[in-house]
């Protein structure tokens, strides 16, 4: 039954052209990340070559090529920003559509008077949406490999492993937003409100929570005193320990470690940064499965 629901949802995503638009968008941003990486590489190497010629003419030793000091996958560092911004929005929409189409058509009355259970239905929808994201990210991976080969000429097995790790991490991160899209659709009655709520949650996760969990003291950027007089520091003392709650920051840290674009951290630390995303995903899945049991599927189709 889960497979039947998932296949049906995948077919609908294809027919509604959501899959095509999402795939094109993600491939385009991956290509843009590659082009930006290639462009900066090309410009810097040209400047370096010119500097080498000038240094050689002056009889001085040439400095090392800066790109020899950078990891190969640093070319894709922009993807660490694109995934939480564009990828997460796409995941929200896919999760949202998985639920609201059936609700607005009153399909629950046809589905739940059959052998399928609500748990199977929800799992089928989640499977279809996450499978779609996986296929999209595989496409992004192929574009990334093409971009890396165009710039670096070679791609070692270690880089390929890191690239795979990055996209697996991105898939887990985006799955959280699929579940947010599904859950908001189950919690609200109107489809427009459901989408707005989902976007609200995305905004909070992506922009608001990182501000509160960064431990940064806004007054310190204006006045470099460690302890501004007369100001309570308790809030900042607490929030600087709350960084694990910001899954977007944890994702960026883990992705940076995997791609090698941030200062190298031990593997265990990288694994620990992934844990909050996994906990969030599991918690949301439990909430979806709990909520769908209580959802009123006896309601008729709405005209919204």
């Amino acid at each position: 039954m889960i497979g039947t629901i998932a296949s049906q949802q995948s077919l609908l995503l294809r027919r509604q052209h959501v899959a095509l638009v999402g795939l094109i968008t993600m491939l385009a941003v991956t290509a843009i990340a590659g082009v930006l990486g290639w462009s900066s590489h090309h410009t810097i190497v040209r400047v370096f070559d010119q500097a080498v010629r000038l240094q050689a003419a002056a009889g001085q030793p040439a400095p090392p090529n800066p790109f020899l000091l950078k990891p190969n996958l640093s070319l894709l560092s922009n993807m660490v920003v694109y995934i939480p911004l564009i990828g997460a929005l796409l995941a929200l929409v896919v999760g949202h559509l998985s639920m609201v189409d059936d609700q607005s058509k009153g399909m629950g009355r046809l589905l739940f008077t059959r052998q399928v259970t609500r748990t199977q239905y929800a799992l089928g929808k989640v499977l279809a949406a996450t499978r779609f994201l996986a296929l999209t990210l595989v496409g992004c991976g192929v574009v990334s490999i093409v971009a890396l080969l165009a710039v670096n000429r070679t791609l070692g097995s270690s880089d390929l492993g890191r690239l795979t790790g990055f996209y697996v991490l991105s898939w887990a991160y985006l799955a959280v937003f699929v579940l947010v899209g599904i859950l908001t659709a189950l919690l609200t009655r109107r489809r427009s409100l459901a989408l707005l709520s989902a976007i609200g949650v995305w905004l909070v996760i992506t922009f608001v929570v990182p501000q509160f969990t960064s431990g940064l003291r806004p007054t310190q950027s204006l006045n470099p005193l460690t302890e501004p007089a007369g100001t309570s520091q308790a809030f900042f003392r607490v929030t600087q320990h709350a960084q694990p709650l910001s899954i977007v920051e944890q994702y960026k840290t883990a992705a940076g470690n995997i791609l090698g674009t941030s200062p190298t951290s031990p593997t265990t630390e990288t694994v620990l940064t992934i844990v909050p995303t996994l906990i969030a995903g599991f918690g949301l899945l439990v909430l979806v499965l709990w909520r769908i049991q209580r959802h009123d599927y006896a309601r008729s189709a709405s005209d919204e």
Binding site: T4, L12, G106, R109, T113, S300
Partner: protein, 244 residues
């Protein structure tokens, strides 16, 4: 009366403080076509939602072929087919694809063959490959009936099946219901306002008034009981008057 297929005992349902079904006792026999009548908001759709396992009653019991609609949901859903009011299916998919999907969810082994046979049986094989989103109300209703019987249920629930149909569509639906009852032996439970249709199709009727079952008998017995009334509409009004 033949062996009861649908049985309600003291059935109650409450939305917050509003009691919409009040101790409804009802028994419907094998092969009957039952017309459930009542004003808007009388509780007919709530009763149907309970019988089709979409809603749990807040009191009493309901069984289909002896299976409880709450505790034996899996068996009940195997036995029933349901055509809701205002049926909509996946508009981006063809009629055959919709039926095949719903047949799979009903556990039909060869869902594709079942979809094709059902469309042929209802004389709408020409609609098989067309997308449901392009269908008229009448076509949608025919595909709605097809999805309700694609797994050959024992009991068919129809909620306001003639609503929105033109006279030809109403006639076609009436003939389909009689055909299903005659050929496949389906017991039919129909919520409707169309008293003219009830008199032409149903073998028994029940009248629900503010959640209370105020009348239940066969059409023949009803006509005998109210010899002075010219039509079922007059009888319906009379029953309502007697109850109040």
């Amino acid at each position: 009366m033949s062996e009861p297929v649908i049985e309600l005992q003291g059935l109650q349902h409450r939305y917050d403080t509003d009691l919409v079904l009040r101790d409804v006792d009802l028994s419907i026999g094998e092969g009957e076509i039952f017309g459930f009548l009542g004003h808007n908001g009388a509780g007919k759709t709530t009763a149907m939602n309970i019988l089709t396992t979409l809603l749990e009653p807040t009191g009493g019991t309901a069984t289909i072929c002896g299976y409880d609609v709450v505790t034996d949901r899996r068996e009940v859903t195997r036995l029933i087919g349901y055509l809701p009011a205002d049926v909509r299916m996946y508009g981006h998919m063809s009629a055959a694809e919709n039926l095949e999907f719903l047949a799979k969810l009903s556990g039909v082994p060869d869902a594709r063959a079942a979809a094709r046979e059902t469309l042929e049986y209802l004389g709408c094989a020409d609609l098989a490959k067309r997308r449901v989103g392009t269908f008229s109300t009448g076509m949608r209703q025919r595909i709605g009936i097809a999805q309700a019987i694609v797994h050959r249920p024992h009991v068919l629930f129809l909620d306001e099946p003639t609503s929105g149909l033109d006279p030809m569509g109403v006639r076609q639906l009436r003939e389909t219901v009689l055909q299903l009852n005659r050929d496949l032996g389906m017991t039919v439970f129909m919520n409707t306002h169309q008293l003219n249709e009830v008199s032409k199709v149903c073998t028994t009727i029940g009248v629900l008034n503010h959640g209370e079952l105020i009348y239940n008998d066969s059409i023949e017995a009803t006509m005998r009981r109210f010899p002075d009334e010219a039509s079922l509409e007059d009888i319906y009004v009379r029953v309502g008057d007697l109850a109040s």
